[in-house]
Each structure stands twice: as C-alpha cells, then as structure tokens.
Symmetry: C2
C-alpha cells in the first residue's frame, strides 16, 4: 500500500481469530468488577505523552508495552505494530485477556497517545511508570474512564 484510498483499503491479511480460555473457565462468572461502590466492566486510561522520546522504534515500543501489561498483572495474547515512513511513527496494539494497550506515536511532535484498558484484577495505573521510563515524557495528560458502569 503506497497511498491512502479515500474510500478505505482492506489489508490482504486475513483477520486472526483465536479461541482462548484464559478467562475463568470454571463457571459462568460475572466478569464485571466492583470498586469504590461502583460496578463496571473495566478501567480505561487515556494517556497522552508530550515531549516524549523513543517514539520511532517499534521494537522498543513493543517491549515497553509488554512490560507495561505484565506489571499491571495482565495476560498478553497478541501484539502487532506498524512503522510508518517517512515520519517514523508507530501504531500498534497489545491484545490482553483483560482488554488491550494501544499506542500511536507522532515523532515529529514528540507526542504519543496510549490507551490502557484493563478489566478484572489488573491495575492499569501500574503501567504508567513503565511508560515514563520508556518514553521520558515531559508531560502526561491522564484521563481515567470507567467503561460499562452499571452503577
């Protein structure tokens, strides 16, 4: 693919569909969590990194996101990263049993948008120091969303 089609383009790669029993297989369990008097599906952190470094190296980014996932207690199922030219930006995602971590970088602006969406017993806040270590942002804009709030 050398150009963006305004109508959208489909990758020749077929989708991967994988069956996985990583979640609790013992019984039909309600996977929503209860915390602070709220019941919800999971915690989603929207993390914008400004004045950041190392935003053009897919291998470094891959390793950082995997470490971020593991330190939060997540289970990594799959990851995929794209490296764009000429600006060197990277887009990618780590699919977790507990949801996902994604990143999109704009090296030309020293900016990256990271999403850390985790359910169950994971704590996505534990991932933040890993991002700080890996990308040395001068500033982080952090927004926490509780997805799927029942009450």
């Amino acid at each position: 693919m050398n150009a963006l089609s305004p109508l959208g383009m489909v990758s020749e790669l077929p989708s991967d569909i994988q069956t996985n029993t990583a979640r609790d297989a013992d019984e039909r369990t309600d996977y929503f969590v209860e915390r602070d008097g709220m019941k919800f599906a999971g915690t989603h952190l929207l993390v914008d990194l400004w004045g950041a470094r190392n935003l053009s190296d897919p291998a470094h980014i891959d390793a950082a996101l995997r470490e971020a996932a593991l330190i939060a207690g997540a289970t990594i199922l799959h990851s995929h990263f794209h490296h764009f030219t000429p600006n060197g930006g990277v887009s990618g995602v780590v699919v977790l049993a507990e949801s996902h971590i994604s990143i999109h970088t704009w090296p030309e602006r020293d900016f990256a948008a990271v999403d850390i969406f985790m359910c169950g017993a994971c704590d996505p806040h534990r991932s933040i120091p890993v991002l700080q270590q890996a990308f040395s942002p001068e500033r982080i804009d952090l927004d926490e969303q509780r997805r799927g709030r029942v009450y």
Copy 2:
C-alpha cells in the same frame, strides 16, 4: 493458556512489526488536524453498547468492525480477535493507518466496549450506524475525546 496468572503471562506469539508507507510519503507532513478552531492528533470515540446482540461471534464482529473502519474512510492494516470460553466474549482490534478500532464484549451482560480512534481525514462518527446495525444496542453511551490537543 487455561488460567490467568496473577503475575501476567506472555503469549508465545512474537510481535508482528511491519513497516508501512500508508501515510503520505511525499514529505514530512504535520499529521495533526485542525477543526473547530482546535489542533489535535485525532478523535477518539468511547462507545459503550448496552442491551446489545451478536456479541459472541468473532467473524460477525470482525466484519462489523471492518465495515465500520471502511465507512469512516480508514485504511485497515491488521486485525486480530480472541474468542473466550465459556462466556463467549470476544476481544479484538483492527489496526488502522489512522489508529484503531477495538472491541471487548461481555455477552453475559449484553454489553460491549468499543473504541474508535481515528486521525487525519477520517470521521469516526460515520462508524456508529454500522455498530447499531451489527449489534442492535438498546442504548449507546458515547464519549468523544480529542487526543493530543495542541490548542
């Protein structure tokens, strides 16, 4: 993988890293967009679907998200879906040149959390009717975030 490890587990699958020139290759361009007097990296819709159907079929979900991406004008680079047992939930992501669409479903609660993050000339709002058609939610909670706001 038959159980969640509290310390996290690493999939035996290596990461895919792909170099791609889908973005404008002619010159070093500022990929941030300007709209409504704001300059920002992209629009991120957080879409919670309640009372939804067809949340256990990975092939159906895959097709729906691909259609959602194309109708918004996005370029599909890769997709990957996991199907969990026994609750039948699906987690997956479509990686786009313009960022990503992700989904996590909880069929036991008729709930799904969808993220549509798009940059450039794409309009993620065009994806919403596709989600309505594919999943017939009784209610949609929609939150729009502008990621990477410069001003």
